[in-house]
Amino acid sequence: MLNTQGRPTAAGEAAAITHATFTGNRALQQSEPLLFEIGRAETTGVDLPDVPAHTPRLGGLARKGAIGLVGLSEPETMRHYVRLSQRNYGIDTGLFPLGSCTMKHNPRLNEAMARLPGFADVHPLQPQSTVQGAVALMEMLSHWLMTLTGMPAVALSPKAGAHGELCGMMAIKAAIAARGEAATRTVVLVPDSAHGTNPATAALIGFSVRPVPAGPDGTVHVDEVKKRLGPDVAAIMLTNPNTCGLFEPDIVRIAAAMHEAGAYFYCDGANFNAIVGKTRPGDLGIDAMHINLHKTFSTPHGGGGPGAGPVVLSERLAAYAPVPFIRRDGDRLALVEDTAGSAAFGRMTAFHGQMGMYVRAMAYMLSHGADGMRQASEDAVLNANYIKAGLADLMSQPFGDRPCMHEALFDDEWLKGTGVTTLDFAKAMIDEGYHPMTMYFPLVVHGAMLIEPTESESRASLDLFIMTLRDLAIAVRSGKTERFTGAPYHAPVRRMDETRAARQPVLKWTAPAPAQAAE
């Protein structure tokens, strides 16, 4: 039908036909080549003055050949990076259900606070008397972290979760060495549902790893731990709630068994968001735990900003905490940088850590308050259970239909015989505009799909997500496999050949050979 201007108002018969475009773009989603493919040697976006006559002082090290950097005009440069940024998917774009990653909203108030000149424009080499406010914020953050965890000491400086693990395990190693048992206590127990960084951390500092199998209910049983305990065991590294989204019910008994055997208890705090204000790790018998400020305390995560992984320590480990730490003398605060005269095992970073993340985390804590943080944890758990309940009749759960903590775990039992795998299902979610959940992790669950919505999502957002996954699950069950096996269909880049990418990786760009002149 034509309107009065003779313009068609509905798509014609060709609407369903998909075809490749001449440019390779998919509508206004722009395809973007590398800078080296669009730049030219003769172009530049800036005018630089000619180099004046001078005597070279590089001692013969001056560059001799051209390095082949290309130039682009300002609009070309700007478009390149804007187009790349539009290819990005983040928590600012949509729901990001990556389990064990706590991709929660980064409140804009945090950003405003982090940009205050007294926090943003300070330098670590300034005299400490000129940055007393910044150090006071670090002291306040330390106080809040110790209060929330019920632990007497904290090392703020580690820069990410795995770095925090390393810090905690180095404190344990130092404590064992101080007892004269460095040569005999060489084993670290790690459940087989652990984050891969746990055994990697233990191995990196010279421990050997002894795996502890999870029970059929997905949790670690104290009897299995005791069987593997001995005078050679230095510590256990346990995540709570664990990577199956379950609270470890034996955790207090495990802590007691470790301490009785003369060993320490490291807790991976990646999933702390589920229990803030509900349980204090210190009360559970934990000796060391890292806290991901970029997960639990809403600082940017995954390309959006650097991580920060402060570590809280028990009385037994506090003396071995790395420098720097804060010392208060009346009204004056000092960062103690020297290990002399203390048992500190050394230092983790050149300076004090990620100041900008401290400010953002503190802004989150103060704006929510103790009650608000407890509610955030409750809402995170409620949201995960809402998703679980919304999908439980269509998708299978490895440990039965029972309440979870902050993340809902499904396996691929329900996909058996359908010709659709967990990977195919995840790719079809991309077509629907969702970043997939964590897949094939934890390793103890076959074809795992681990969904963590966090407290950021509204009920409407959760409902749409559930309805989308239900629609996909019904399509699987009614045999519409082509929607999955070829997905993603609508993404700018289609399915990757992961095998070839891993077997024959292309790690370096090389200029294409110049075109041959026509004969």
């Binding site: 094939y440 390793l443 992961e498 095998t499 891993a502 077997r503």
Partner: protein
Amino acid sequence: MIRFSKDHEYIRVDGDIGTVGITDYAQSQLGDVVFVDLPPVGKTLEAGAEAAVVESVKAASEVYAPVAGAVVAVNEALTSNPGAINESAMDEGWFLKLKIADTAALDGLMNQDEYDAYLKSIS
């Protein structure tokens, strides 16, 4: 003679030399193998010790020595063509040959019928 471990490894025995690899079931679970790390020839392994590492697009796993012994040969061809494990896990895709310390230890492993029954019980 061939024996199997609960970790889905096989050892094909000829005299006191055992050829170790992962079973067809193991390769199907791993998916496309992209990398293999083999031990040096001459290395002595305790039973259950980590002998090699196999990495697929999905996961990295250890391959354990099913019985104690010394490594007398490794399948170098896997380094450039790890896909052989997917195509022929039981033959071309072998990992290493062990000089078995004590062949009596093989009795602790499963024979073909027992392994087939074990596969049925876990699937």
